[in-house]
Every structure is written in structure tokens, then in C-alpha cells.
């Protein structure tokens, strides 16, 4: 009973159910054959989006938005590809440091200078797009094959990408279980009241942006390793999906609510919709169109729901 109640109340239940239903459709379309290898591929494909989506989630939770997270992925991807010849440690360190720096920059501008997050991150989006191209003008570079094998492999019982995806969800859940998570929800709910209650609003909001930059960097790094190449434009295709995954994960754009596990499910759902395109014989070119339509549909559905609630108060 307690478990049933927990499932009923969890904010991740809806997005999880949505993902499972779509997964069932895909399995049915494949004639009932779905191997561990398919799951492994799905996890490897979705991991960058799950990471950047989780970062976006922390920012949206405090009523912000970060349009620069995609290009931050590109920067990390390029730094890694360029630096791997000098050793894995400097390459990985530089890739992550790039994301941390980007997140700190956004955090300082938004949280401490009180600038509009849309404008700030629209500007830094452009900055990081430029930096990526300066670091690596065309897709390429060198990624050690061994590392690619290790991080995409089907070793032991559960394939590595699936483990990494679970770790991502667990990390999100852990952050939200701490006082930082509580404060992020409080700030999203009512920043003024949170401040008056003694929450360090600026510092925690800053932390959300810094965390987002770091997670985006990890997403870019993984995508470079998995495709064994860095790309200065890889992140551009994540700008909108990172927001769509959060919204599909059941998080309102006004913040304060929503579950990190839901966001990972949102990322999975978005990816599954991509494979449904394949079964519908539609070209990949439709993915961008579909992403946009989905984002509007979900936001509209949420608005409709709150409209219905307002019309029928409890």
C-alpha cells in the first residue's frame, strides 16, 4: 500500500508511464523483438540529452532558463577531441572545466547581477558557439578507441550506458534530496519568501547555473567519446530538446516543482519519438520539426490543465 501511495504521489510517475507506453509501441513495431543491445543503444543515444536536460531542469526549477547549454556541450566536445592526443586526463579535465566556467559565467550574470536569463544565455549561447568553432573548425579530432569501447560497451551484466543513465537519474534525485534541492524548489516557488526565510537565494541560484554548465559539459564529453569525434555544432541540436525533455518530464516552466527522474524519462521519451519517426518512414529532418511541435503541445497541455483547474476550484 505504501508503495502504491508513493507511486501515486511521485512526480516521476506520469513521465515514466509515458515512456513505457511509447517503448511498448516501439517493441510492438519491431515485432516483439527487443534485445539488451537495443536498450544499450537507446541509453547511449539518450545519455547526452539526459545529462544536459538534468542541467536545464535545475535552472528551470529556479524559474530560469539556459539557452547556452547546447553550445557548452559543443565546447566540451571540441576541447576533448583536440586535447586527447595529449592524454585523457587533460582532455577530460579541460572539457569539464569549460562547462564549469560557462555555468559560473551564466550564474554570475543571472544570480548576482540580476540580468534576464533569456538574454544572458542567448548571448553566451552565441559566445560558446564561436568558441567551439575556434577550438575545432570542423568535426573530427581524435578520441581513443579504448575509451569509446569502455563507455559504450556491454560489459558485465548491465551495459555501461544503461548504468551511466541510471547514475544520472540517481545524481539528480540525490541533489533534490539535499537542502540545496529543497532551496531550489523554494526559490522557484517564491524567491522573495525564500529570501525572507533565510535561504541564500543568490548563492543557490548561482549553484543551479554552475551545476547546469557542468552537466552539459559531461553530456558533450560523452557524445564526443561515443561518436569518437568532437563537433563544434553538436550542441546546437540540444538547445531546444534540453528544454523539451524537462517539460516532457512534467516540470512546469515556472519552476518550483518536478522530479529529476521525470526529466530523464522525458529525455528517453523524446528519443523514442525519434525512433518512431524511423518506423513511420520519415526522414531525420523531421526531428527538429517534431521537437518544436512537442514542446508547444506539452506547454499548451499544461496551460490547459491549469486553466481547467482554475475554472473548477477544489
Amino acid at each position: 500500500m505504501r508503495l502504491v501511495e508513493a507511486i501515486r504521489r511521485s512526480e516521476a510517475t506520469g513521465p515514466t508511464a509515458m515512456f513505457l507506453v511509447l517503448l511498448a509501441v516501439v517493441i510492438a513495431l519491431k515485432g516483439g523483438r527487443y534485445s539488451l543491445f537495443d536498450a544499450q543503444n537507446l541509453a547511449a543515444n539518450v545519455l547526452p540529452l539526459a545529462l544536459v536536460g538534468l542541467g536545464q531542469y535545475f535552472v528551470i526549477l529556479v524559474r530560469g532558463i539556459d539557452l547556452s547549454l547546447g553550445p557548452v556541450m559543443s565546447v566540451s566536445s571540441c576541447l576533448a577531441a583536440v586535447l586527447f592526443p595529449y592524454g585523457a586526463v587533460p582532455a577530460i579535465a579541460a572539457a569539464i572545466a569549460g562547462g564549469v566556467a560557462a555555468g559560473i559565467g551564466n550564474g554570475l550574470l543571472v544570480a548576482w547581477l540580476d540580468l534576464s536569463p533569456v538574454i544572458v544565455t542567448l548571448a553566451t549561447m552565441s559566445v560558446w558557439q564561436g568558441v567551439s568553432l575556434v577550438v575545432l573548425a570542423t568535426p573530427g579530432g581524435t578520441i581513443p578507441a579504448g575509451l569509446q569501447m569502455a563507455l559504450t560497451a556491454a560489459t558485465v551484466v548491465v551495459p555501461v550506458p544503461i548504468l551511466l543513465l541510471i547514475a544520472t537519474a540517481l545524481f539528480g534525485a540525490w541533489v533534490m534530496s539535499t537542502r540545496l534541492g529543497l532551496h531550489l524548489r523554494a526559490i522557484g516557488g517564491d524567491a522573495g519568501a525564500a529570501e525572507a526565510s533565510g535561504v541564500r537565494v543568490r548563492r543557490q541560484r548561482f549553484a543551479a547555473y554552475a551545476l547546469a554548465g557542468t552537466l552539459a559539459a559531461l553530456g558533450g564529453l560523452y557524445s564526443a567519446i561515443a561518436t569518437s569525434a568532437g563537433s563544434p555544432i553538436i550542441g546546437d541540436s540540444y538547445i531546444l530538446p534540453s528544454i523539451a525533455a524537462v517539460v516532457l518530464g512534467g516540470v512546469p516552466l515556472i519552476g518550483g516543482r518536478g522530479s529529476p527522474v521525470g526529466v530523464v524519462m522525458g529525455a528517453l521519451t523524446l528519443n523514442i519519438i525519434g525512433s518512431l519517426l524511423y518506423f513511420a518512414n520519415l526522414s531525420d529532418f523531421y526531428q527538429s520539426l517534431i521537437n518544436g511541435v512537442i514542446l508547444i503541445a506539452v506547454v499548451a497541455a499544461a496551460a490547459l490543465r491549469s486553466w481547467v483547474w482554475r475554472a473548477v476550484p477544489a
Partner: protein, 498 residues
């Protein structure tokens, strides 16, 4: 001891606090009284770290108290409860109570069950009957205010600042606070208390400091300061007759309501004559607000009949109710009804724009300005001018703007939902006069107030609501504070039919 010395503060061209000095003693409650805009809240906010003084100093137990944020004030043991609540609606009661110090596991996850238990313990220690996993936004206003008080007291402050902390409390809840404050006094705490209800000042406070126009004009033992003298000190003129005389209501029925039912209301029927003031009494949250909101189409009805001026009506949206001649002034004026950053003129006339003469679709600015200037003068709104943003006004003056916005539309039925909450005595009197004037002009008025004396002073008829239905209807001379309170807490007044 908390010592305030030569405190001074300007907001733009307004000298909000002038050279204020006083001592607040341990094991004692100091009341701060004064009209809205007299500077009480600014003094409290300086102590709470919300506002920084321009000059002067504050000393707590001999050490300088320099606080730049609420957080720093908390660290120095200065805790505050303001009228505008600082609780976070989307979090649970437990999360709000333990926002800063929830128990953690070694890996820093919050121990949720332990936190819930700790919260439940705190709630029961302070006799607050709410569940620790209730969402705060779902609680009635009174409970939220009690929760905030509990949160402040639980942090065990040296100084507790209560700024209009009783504004949303019903009578029983105020008694609860009286017991709590007595306990704090016995523990040797310093308590500063702001209220606009004089009975509360005499109940709670040992000493009273009176402020007027930013200056502290008098400080005395509470027992040695009669109400008349306090009002004179606050306003600069005498109390006179607090409530305006009333004209007899007209005969014609304006509104009749039969069997209104909703999630909260359980078959409410009554009728209202043109020019009548109908008061809604009872404990907080017995369906008074919902009844008014239902008439305004802002609360969903499951059944019942509403007849206004002989016509059955069933508005589905507030704009339809407005078109039918109904105006509603809500409780939480900052949330509903005012554009805080827009000018006073804009706020007064935007509901009216459709009705101003507008040749070729253009509104004559001069005509609009005339209306606004006239209203500002007549309502004695204290402001730099009609172009000043509403945010710059004190709470009572904001309320007058909102009231005027609706009165300019000449409504047939005016719904007032606890509109004098947190308004000072002088402004209250002005609002009473406005209400009576509207009634004399034939407007039917339904008035809900948590202040029983206000119902007695203003209403021709009072309906006492208990759990969504009418417990008693009091007319004319039957309207007394005792009868209202008796009906509200379940006893029938003497001689009333069982």
C-alpha cells in the same frame, strides 16, 4: 535590552522614519501603533535586516546590531513575522519549518521521516492543528500565519518582531497567540508587536509606542494610555464617531439568493435591499469569502439561484459579473486587483475606460485626469501625485485606490472581502465613510470582516456563517459583538429561538 537610537530613513522624497529612539525591555511586549505610513513597519524592517537605516544605530544587549539581510538578523537572534507572509506555498509544512536546518544523512540527503516527525512535534508543542505534510498553499490564511509565527518562535529568537501578525487570525487564533506571547514574555524574550486592533494592543502589550509621520510621539505603559488618547496621538485629531451614521436601507430588493451550494457552501439563502450593508461574520474560513466569490463567478457553484435586480443570473466569468453590476474587492489586494507598478490614475480608471466619453475612440486625457484628481482629494490618498506608482503607497492607501477603482464603475452590488485587514484606524474611518456613502447612493454592499466590531459598526444585517451555512441572521439592534461571537462559536444568544 534592544535599544534603538536616532534611527532615520528616507525613501526618495519621503522621510519615512525621523530620529526614532526607544528601548524594548526583556520579558516585555512593546506595541508600536500609528496610522499606515507612520513608519512602524519601516522601523521593524530595519531591525529585521530588510531595510538599512540611513543613520542612527540599533543595539542588542549592548552590542551594535548591524544587519544587512534577514539571514544576518536571524543569526543575531532577531526573528520576524510580517503581514506579507514569508512561507513558500509549494512546499510542505515540514519543509517550510525546517527549510534551513532539516536533519541530514552523512551524504547530505535530508532525513525526510525524521524531518516530518520533528515538524509534527513542533506543531503539537505549539498546539497548531495542521499536518506536517500538508502543502502550505492549501492551508487557509489564518493557519499559514500561525505556522509562520510558530516557525519564528521555534527558532528561539532573542527578539521577536510581529508586524500585523494577527491580521488574518480569527478570535480563537488570537487567543492562541496571546498564550504564546505570554510564554515568550515569561522566558524573558523581547517582543515588538504591531497591530491596528486596539483591543489586541491592550491584550498583548506592556508598553505602547505611538508613531506619527515617521516620528515617535509618545511612549507609555499600555494601561496608562486610553484608546481615545492613543488615537488622538496617532492621527493628530480625536476619535470622534468611529463609524459613520447610517441611512435607512431602501425597500426594494436588490439581490436575492437561494440555496447556494458548492464545495464549501451548503445551501445559503438571503436577500439584500438596495442601500443595505450586509455583514458576514463567523470564524475565519467558514465560507464567507467563497460566498462573495461565488456571486462574482470566481468560485464554482453546484447549485442555487441568484436574482439581481429582478433578473436571474448565472455568471460564469468575473467579466460577466462586472457587466451585471457586481464589484468585488478581494482580501489579498496585492495578488488581485492592482497593477503595483502602474500609476494611481491608471489603476483607478482602467476598469472604467469603456464608459468614459471617447470621441473617435480616443479618451480625453483631461477628463480622465479630472476624475482621478477628484478621487485622490476626496479619499485623502496620501501620495506624491496621480502619476506615482501604486507600489509607492502604504497598504491602506492602496486599498483606497482599489476601492475607488470599483466605485467609479457605479456597481449595483459591492462585495468587500475583509478590505480593512491591516489598515490603520484613520484610514479605516475613511474607508467606512466611503462604504456608507456608496450605500446611501443605493449600492447594495456585502461586507466580510474578521473584525467583529467593524461588522457591528457598519452592517444593517449580519449573517453568521458556520461551516458554509448561515447559523444566525441578526437585524438592526440584534447586531452586537456578543451575539455575533456567540453564534460563531456555537452558542445561541440569550433569548434566541433554539
Amino acid at each position: 535590552m534592544l535599544r534603538v537610537q536616532d534611527l532615520d530613513k528616507w525613501f526618495g522624497a519621503t522621510h519615512a522614519v525621523r530620529d526614532v529612539s526607544f528601548d524594548a525591555l526583556p520579558a516585555s511586549v512593546l506595541g508600536l501603533v500609528g496610522e499606515n505610513g507612520a513608519g512602524k513597519s519601516t522601523v521593524i524592517k530595519m531591525l529585521a535586516g530588510v531595510v538599512t537605516p540611513d543613520s542612527g544605530q540599533m543595539l542588542l544587549d549592548g552590542a551594535a546590531l548591524r544587519v544587512a539581510s534577514p539571514r544576518e538578523a536571524l543569526a543575531r537572534g532577531v526573528d520576524s513575522v510580517f503581514q506579507e507572509l514569508a512561507l513558500i506555498d509549494n512546499l510542505t509544512v515540514a519543509e517550510n519549518l525546517l527549510l534551513l536546518d532539516a536533519p541530514q544523512r552523512p551524504w547530505r540527503s535530508i532525513r525526510r521521516r525524521a524531518a516530518r516527525q520533528a515538524a509534527t512535534e513542533i506543531l503539537s508543542r505549539y498546539e497548531l492543528e495542521i499536518r506536517s505534510d500538508d502543502r502550505v498553499g492549501d492551508l487557509p490564511l489564518g493557519r499559514r500565519q500561525m505556522l509562520e509565527i510558530v516557525r519564528a518562535v521555534h527558532r528561539d529568537p532573542r527578539v521577536l518582531l510581529l508586524d500585523e501578525a494577527t491580521s488574518a487570525l480569527g478570535e480563537g487564533e488570537v487567543r492562541w497567540l496571546v498564550r504564546l506571547v505570554q510564554r515568550l514574555r515569561a522566558q524573558g524574550k523581547i517582543v515588538l508587536f504591531i497591530s491596528h486592533r486596539w483591543e489586541e494592543i491592550t491584550t498583548f502589550c506592556d508598553r505602547v509606542a505611538v508613531m506619527r509621520n515617521g516620528a515617535l510621539v509618545h511612549i507609555a505603559e499600555a494601561a496608562a494610555l486610553p484608546q481615545e488618547q492613543a488615537v488622538e496621538l496617532m492621527t493628530g485629531h480625536g476619535l470622534g464617531d468611529a463609524y459613520p451614521s447610517r441611512a435607512a436601507p431602501r425597500r426594494e430588493t436588490l439581490l436575492s439568493v437561494e440555496g447556494l451550494r458548492s464545495a464549501v457552501l451548503r445551501g445559503v439563502s438571503f436577500s439584500l435591499a438596495a442601500g443595505e450593508v450586509l455583514g458576514l461574520g463567523g470564524l475565519v474560513g467558514q465560507g464567507q469569502s467563497e460566498l462573495m466569490r461565488a456571486l462574482f463567478a470566481a468560485h464554482r457553484l453546484d447549485g442555487g439561484r441568484i436574482v439581481l435586480r429582478g433578473q436571474a443570473m448565472r455568471p460564469h466569468r468575473p467579466d460577466q459579473a462586472i457587466a451585471a453590476g457586481i464589484a468585488y474587492v478581494p482580501q489579498e489586494r496585492k495578488a488581485e486587483g492592482l497593477f503595483l507598478d502602474k500609476s494611481i490614475g491608471f489603476n483607478m480608471t482602467y476598469a472604467l475606460l469603456d464608459r468614459l466619453p471617447a470621441p473617435a475612440g480616443l479618451i480625453r486625457r483631461g477628463h480622465e485626469r479630472g476624475i482621478v484628481a477628484d478621487a485622490i482629494a476626496r479619499l485623502r490618498i496620501r501620495t506624491a501625485g496621480p502619476g506615482a506608482p501604486v507600489r509607492s503607497l502604504s497598504g491602506g492607501n492602496q486599498q483606497k485606490v482599489l476601492l475607488q477603482k470599483w466605485l467609479l464603475t457605479r456597481p449595483a452590488l459591492l462585495l468587500l472581502d475583509d478590505v480593512t485587514r491591516g489598515v490603520d484606524i484613520g484610514t479605516k474611518q475613511e474607508i467606512y465613510a466611503i462604504i456608507r456613502e456608496a450605500a446611501a447612493a443605493g449600492t447594495g454592499i456585502i461586507l466580510y470582516s474578521t473584525d467583529t466590531t467593524e461588522l457591528v459598526g457598519l452592517a444593517d444585517t449580519v449573517l453568521v456563517l458556520v461551516e458554509g451555512s448561515i447559523r444566525r441572521q441578526l437585524h438592526g439592534a440584534e447586531v452586537t459583538a456578543a451575539a455575533i461571537v456567540d453564534a460563531a462559536i456555537g452558542r445561541e444568544a440569550e433569548g434566541a429561538p433554539g
